[in-house]
Amino acid sequence: MTLLRAWAPAALALAASLAAVPAAARESRADDMLREHLFSELKRLPKGERPVVGLVLSAGAVRGLAHIGVWQVLEDAGFPVDVVAGTSMGAVVGSFVAEGIPASRMREIGGGVTLGSGSDYSKTRLLTLILNDSLLDSTAMELVLKSAIGERTFDQLKRPFACVSMDIRTGEKVVFRDGPVAPAVRASANLPGIFKPVAYRHRWLVDGGVVDYIPVDAARLLGAEWVLASVTEGDFTYINPTNVLGTLEQVIDIRGSLLSRQQRREADALIEPRVGDVEFYQTERIPDVIRKGMEAGARGLAGAQESLAVYAMPRLWKKWSAAP
């Protein structure tokens, strides 16, 4: 402490002189200035004249909580988002975005998620799962959702929203766009092999990640013209599953990744948090996962803004050329 105080002035002077460098460097960047200008112009276009922007949030279990970090960055930057679509954990976070829950509140909710949030994971229940082939119930997840967004129906949300599930009896993809939000989101995040399928609307529903990992098409159904997708895929090279559940989830993730190759191409911009090494049950890593989402958002923001600005150029030109 003593020495720190004695030697602080010189060290601070050195650090201060070096700290000033990045600020000056930023000012001379033509790309940054034009991006800021065009994005400001874009945001001033009246709704209906600017492109409809869709935010798509992928599946990914605990990894999917990185979407909260991504949304934090988009919200801070005032990124316009008109419609939202999500699958599995992407549906959970997407419903919050659609409801207009601030990212700071989402971080609180995300930070409180434990393995028990979605169901009863007591030893007795897990033994039942293993010995009796009796799947767990995900009713608790619906209650958690209701505590955050209430008894909202899709048309009561602040932004149009869609989430994706799969009917395990037919293999059909089911896109929910109306009715109560909470049961639809629960069905979308209903991990097969762990949770009982949700009986809803005469269907037998499980996690939509099996059929639509990055639901770009659902956002298009809602009218999105330009789509930003946040993708939280697993990296299988990190994970060596050693038990039944881990193996099952890995197979689902691999299937999701294969499916998502085409969907990635259909999105106009991608943000990919580096959470590939996080396994589906690692709730203790949630703060780190959300932080990785913010990092990815910060890395990808400029690219997304540029892509949207270029996409919107015909609309901007229309406005400019019509001005007196």
Binding site: M1, T2, L3, L4, R5, A6, W7, A8, P9, A10, A11, L12, L14, A15, A16, L18, A19, A20, V21, P22, A23, A24, E27, S28, R29, A30, D31, M33, L34, R35, E36, H37, L38, S40, E41, G69, Q72, V73, D76, A77, G78, S104, R291, M294, E295, G297, A298, L301, E306, A309, V310, M313, P314, W317, W320, S321, A323
Partner: protein, 316 residues
Amino acid sequence: MVRRSLAPLALAALAACASRGTLVDPLKSERALFESGRFAEAAAALTPERLRSLPKRSRGDGHALIAHCLEAVGRSDDALAAYQLAEALYPKNLEALTGLGWLLHRQGLDDRARPLFERAVHIHPNNATANLGLAEIQRAQGDLASAQVGYESALADASWSKNPAVLRDYAELLASRQKPQQAAEAIGRALVLDPSAGTLLSAARIERRRGGIEAAYRDVGYALSGDPTRDDIALQRALWLLEDGRLAEAEADAEAVLARSDDALARWVRGSARARRGDLAGARADLASAASQRREHPFVARAALALLEELHAPAN
């Protein structure tokens, strides 16, 4: 709660420790050399024998001082090795932790710098240098709320509270967080300390964000008159003029820049203004020139190409 109630006692103990220690500073002569800019001499004085002769609690600082000196003379690789040695030998030494953290941060290695700052803040929550380093990284990594807390902690320290660059960064962060009033107050403090063109430009940006259009033009005008060679300031004003439909003035600012160099952004501004005025041939020439500079300014080139395509569309 326990931690909070113990804090005054801990602070009192630390203050007593500090006042006792300043009387006897084993590294006083080497620090004097460092502070007078004689970095090589300071480093040379810190021989292995000299380091061994220091009281144990000062040895970590001695190693960190060597690293500081090496960094100050531009020997970054040697400084890195010296910081790493200091940090390995004295893992709780704040100078070693923050010095290594800043070096890595400046080299863009934020993922490696961050844990060092976090460790320093864990050891000493009010350490201004560590809080500032952490805040800069958090800001770059999109965590603006945490960054704000870090800046505020750093600015609570007397040394940093008078640093205009830090105040300016803090003000811009507040503006990004949609806190215009606080941002204006912070940039006002920075302007008092450093009324340079760069600070005036920041002030103008903040004014514009909070809706003070005329005040922003006034500040950017002051900035430009303070340093008329700053093309970025002229172009910032030109972009705002374009946004506000003041095409002739935007074009004039762009032409002033183009008289000095074939700047891609100036070409964009003039081309865009010409297009809006109906001078499509002139606009195309400017935009084609901007589009050709894709290596230096990839986005300006891309945007120019997109607008050029619109101008070539059949309706035009």
